[in-house]
Amino acid sequence: MSVSTMEAALLLAGVLFMLGLISVLIRRNIIFMLISVEIMLNAAGLAFIVAGSKWVQPDGQVMFIFILTMAAAEVSVGLALILQIYHQLKTLDSDAANFMKG
């Protein structure tokens, strides 16, 4: 592959990352926030793969696997927490969870 396509792929990852970022910013529902963060993580993974393929090394994909596992772990904990939150607040609106401030 030529370098220019590499750049393009990286750009794609960047765009993906930005999308995730923005949706974290605008979403209020915690689950959606979690999902968008995952998107960002996957964007990073994609970037790794791109980089790996640029240097023709497996490392990029290795990192991607890592990221996936980690993301899975994170999401599982996250969902557990969200359950708890829902029990207590009866809502998933992240803005409602602001007992601690100042």
């Binding site: 970022l21 910013l25 915690i30 926030m33 803005d95 007992f99």
Partner: protein
């Protein structure tokens, strides 16, 4: 004998120390013995020493008790230097002081704070002796401040009365102003001569400074400032009349006989400086002249017996300054001595009267005491005569005449000064006899109880005799030429020679002086005895009223200083009570709190804002890393 010099001040100090420590527990008799005895003994020693001095005629006696301190060549010691000048002062202080103490035992007999009174009196005598015996200016300064303190303590002796306290503070602070000037003078002297030893300075000064040298003038003026403060001369005279708030013996001792003449002593002591600084010396003369007139006028208008005496004191010291100013040194000192006698006498008499009229001081409420208290009358009359300088018989005549004479005929004599002095003499005798007539003649207005006892009358008599004959040790040379006193002073203070062409007809001026004083008496008689109606008609004229009010208030100096200095200072102090600078720091604190509130807004607790925060940070960092 000269080994016991140190006892002279030590005894009063010891006395006052004992009284302070145990005064409250001792019986009144014991207190009196301690208080009077200590001064009495030092008077005794003084007299013995004086006799020895007269017989041996040494230049001076010197005694160092201990080295006070010594820093890099600045080593004043607690040491005494006795020459004729200081001996005269010591004599007056101890002897008159002794009499007044004696008098006080009766006067203060039924006062609650008997012991405190004597403690302070002794302390005063001690410090005053320090002042006049010191061989260096720092020790002199110690005595100088010491007497200031004592006058503060004694003026405010009856402290329950706020007015007294006010008078006391006024005295202390105003004299302190003068002292400040003096202190600065000392700094300069030390810088120039590397020592504060009086004799050393006197000897070196002519070598270092030429006549009229700027520094000399400066020092002269500064010392004069100190003198003016203590001696109640213009412009720092305002404290003296108020100082009458103290018990009468105090007024007699401090504000007539001794302390207020400290200024005279200082100037006489440092005469070399003043001779090197003609300007300063002229200032002395002028201040003296002006003061004696102003005070005289004020004295004319007073009704309070003691205030009259106070103003007369101011004006008499004015004469002394005048004398010093024209270089008639010994004349000035001579007048000091005589004045001490008759002024103490007058005050003590006044005290006796006041006591008899249970603390009534207003002359308008007095009168007709001639019959009821003859001793006091006669003694007072003598005192008055001496103050008014009635010719021939009173010593006041001789001392004052000498001053007037040299004011005119002295090398730096001056006709205007002379006229001022002459007119002053006239006023003096007017207000003196105004006093006599108002108090002792006419109809009795207040019933008097317990006429004065022995302890009171004895000192009066002694002082009366002194103020009659005391002057006979110095008689004009055209009239049984006798100059014991000026001979005594000769080794210490430079003599003075009269201008020849005037000297020829000196008698003319003596007659003039005599006429003036007698004239004064007549005027007083006219207004206050023969036909009071004239006085009243005079008083009714609006101008006279204004003048009267103006003079009565002592030429409005008090008001002036109040509005010029005191009020602004107090105002300034009070508006800044909370200390403006502090508010700056509190301001800083407020600012920090403000920032805190601002920042804590960002901690909204809302998750998305936190995310936003991170994003902002991210943008910031990325922009930096891309731009730089």
């Amino acid at each position: 004998m000269e080994n016991y010099i140190w006892l002279i001040p030590a005894l009063p100090f010891l006395g006052s120390l004992l009284l302070i420590l145990f005064g409250t527990r001792l019986s009144r008799a014991l207190v009196a013995i301690l208080g009077v005895g200590s001064v009495g003994f030092s008077a005794l020693i003084t007299i013995l020493l004086g006799l020895q001095f007269l017989s041996e005629k040494p230049a001076f006696y010197q005694q160092e008790v201990w080295q006070w301190f010594s820093v890099a060549g600045f080593n004043p010691s607690i040491a005494f230097h006795l020459d004729a000048l200081s001996i005269v002062f010591i004599f007056v202080i101890t002897f008159v002081g002794f009499l007044i103490h004696l008098y006080s035992t009766a006067y203060m007999a039924d006062d609650a704070d008997f012991s405190r009174f004597f403690a302070c009196m002794n302390l005063f005598v001690g410090s005053m002796l320090m002042l006049v015996m010191a061989d260096n200016l720092l020790l002199l300064y110690l005595g100088w401040e010491g007497v200031g303190l004592c006058s503060y303590l004694l003026i405010g002796f009856w402290y329950k009365e706020p007015a007294n306290g006010y008078a006391a503070r006024k005295a202390f602070i105003i004299t302190r102003v003068g002292d400040t000037a003096m202190a600065i003078g000392l700094f300069i002297l030390f810088q120039t001569f590397g020592t504060l030893n009086i004799q050393a300075i006197l000897t070196q000064a002519p070598e270092v400074w030429s006549v009229g040298a700027q520094m000399a003038v400066l020092v002269g003026l500064l010392l004069l400032g100190g003198a003016v403060g203590k001696s109640g001369q213009l412009p720092l005279q305002t404290w003296l009349p108020d100082a009458m708030a103290g018990p009468t013996p105090v007024s007699a001792l401090i504000h007539a006989a001794t302390m207020v003449t400290a200024g005279v002593y200082l100037i006489a002591r440092m005469y070399v400086i003043f001779e090197l600084a003609p300007l300063a010396q002229t200032m002395v003369a002028v201040i003296g002249a002006v003061t004696l007139l102003l005070a005289g006028f004020s004295a004319l208008t007073q009704y309070d017996l003691k205030r009259v005496l106070a103003y007369s004191t101011i004006s008499q010291i004015g004469y002394m300054f005048l004398a010093l100013g024209v270089g008639a040194w010994s004349a000035g000192i001579f007048h000091f001595m005589i004045h001490a006698f008759f002024k103490a006498l007058l005050f003590l008499c006044a005290g006796a009267i006041i006591l008899a009229l249970h603390h009534e001081q207003d002359m308008r409420k007095m009168g007709g005491l001639r019959k009821s208290m003859p001793v006091v009358f006669w003694t007072f009359l003598i005192g008055a005569a001496s103050l008014a300088a009635l010719p021939i018989i009173t010593s006041g005549f001789y001392s004052k005449d000498q001053i007037l004479w040299y004011t005119l005929a002295g090398p730096n004599g001056n006709i205007w000064l002379y006229l001022a002095g002459l007119f002053g003499a006239f006023i003096t005798s007017v207000y003196t006899f105004r006093m006599v007539f108002m108090t002792f003649y006419g109809a009795p207005k207040t019933h008097l109880d317990h006429p004065p006892g022995k302890l009171i009358t004895i000192p009066l008599v002694i002082l009366a005799i002194l103020s009659l004959v005391g002057g006979f040790i110095e008689l004009p040379h055209n009239f049984a030429h006798l100059a014991l006193f000026s001979d005594l002073m000769a080794p210490v203070l430079p003599g003075i020679t009269a201008n020849e062409l005037l000297a020829a007809n000196e008698w003319l001026f003596q007659v003039l002086a005599a006429v003036v004083s007698l004239g004064g008496v007549y005027v007083a008689y006219l207004f206050y005895q023969k036909s009071p109606g004239m006085l009243h008609s005079l008083e009714r004229s609006s101008l006279a009223m204004k003048l009267h009010r103006f003079w009565f208030s002592g030429w409005g100096f008090d008001a002036l200083y109040d509005n010029l200095l005191v009020r602004p200072y107090v105002f300034l102090a009070n508006i800044n009570k909370r200390d403006i600078i502090d508010s700056f720091y509190t301001g800083l604190a407020r600012m920090a709190e403000g920032f805190h509130v601002m920042f804590s807004q960002t901690q909204s607790g809302v998750l998305r804002n936190y995310v936003a925060g991170i994003v902002v940070g991210a943008i910031m960092i990325l922009t930096i890393s891309l731009l730089l």
